[in-house]
Symmetry: C2
Subunit: 204 residues, 2 copies
């Protein structure tokens, strides 16, 4: 097992075990490919270990739960980072961001990975904590920017930002978890305008 101890920063250290970069990359690549080929139903640490030529104890030492591994696969995939757009209006920011996010989910194993992560979190407390306390806060930073900028412009009440972010995340989760993330500009625009309070949205 090629595990040369080395210093590689606070994030790694927080996981409680130092990693060999080549072995780590091989394991992440094997996990990504396995998800892409077989989805969550066919995803197992056994098979990841076999494909990566790594030992299961190594994988479990670096990623204590399957969820921790899935989070790192997702983050690595997000090299094509989706930045918060700045179109000047909240509704069109939301439209652009949503289309980019869904394209990312569709076009890479990331959609499957995220679905697997959410499913995993329903089966165990450790995975749930990883999703809620590690994955979500990290992923929401960019997204939240759109709403904070809109509040700064006076387009929405700053007090509504938390609720708007949560409503928006929810919309995306339901679409992903029911596999309805085909590109649909009119449908997405209707949601975006409703959420942003831009006409046509509500009478008052």
């Amino acid at each position: 097992m090629p595990e040369t101890p080395q210093q590689d920063g606070a994030r790694r250290a927080s996981i409680g075990a130092r990693r060999n970069p080549a072995a780590e990359a091989a394991i992440l690549a094997a996990a990504r490919d396995l998800l892409a080929e077989r989805g969550y139903a066919g995803f197992s640490i056994d098979e990841v270990a076999r494909r990566a030529g790594a030992g299961k104890p190594t994988i479990y030492r670096w990623w204590p739960t399957k969820a921790d591994l899935l989070i790192d696969v997702y983050s690595a995939e997000k090299a094509a980072i989706i930045a918060a757009p700045e179109t000047g209006a909240l509704w069109s920011d939301i439209l652009d961001y949503t289309r980019a996010l869904w394209a990312f989910w569709r076009g890479t194993p990331s959609g499957r990975t995220f679905r697997a992560l959410i499913a995993e979190a329903q089966a165990g407390e450790a995975a749930l904590r990883a999703l809620r306390d590690k994955f979500l806060p990290e992923r929401l930073k960019d997204l939240r920017l759109m709403f904070e900028r809109a509040a700064a412009r006076g387009d929405i009440d700053a007090a509504a930002v938390d609720a708007l972010v949560e409503l928006y995340i929810g919309f995306n989760w339901v679409r992903l978890l029911t596999d309805r993330i085909a590109d649909d500009p009119p449908g997405i625009e209707a949601m975006a305008r409703t959420l942003a309070g831009a006409p046509p949205g509500k009478a008052q």
Copy 2:
């Protein structure tokens, strides 16, 4: 195996196999209890069959997928039906409905059951179709009423109802799937007012 063929309506017939009511009740009760005790991680058809004293072939004939069984457990639990409230304002309807829904999820095995169903739908197409095409449309009827009544009163644009329903569902899914459904009237009210466009919601 106590399977006396009998007529019991279109819904049963649609599943493709007639059921013995006593055996069906025993299986649903066993499934509900197993979910309550062990959650999704400990849920298996093997264990349901053992507890109900039923054969696995019988269970699979009546509920082709685990998802179909979970849907019937959830529906049976919803005897304490949550009707759409009529407070006269959309935001307070949403507040009341959300508090009742979360209490239902917390106080019965239903929250766990629904989480298990969503997780199951990430692992297979049949379960996904059961969730999206059977469970969701059925469960959304009541909830949708709140928004349609608000549109009829002129409080919201009728064209926004679809998006509002989906945003609202999403909010609840995210909270359930990250296990944050403790009663929280101020937090829920903030979401409800934001969604309904009632102050404090947005500046414009």
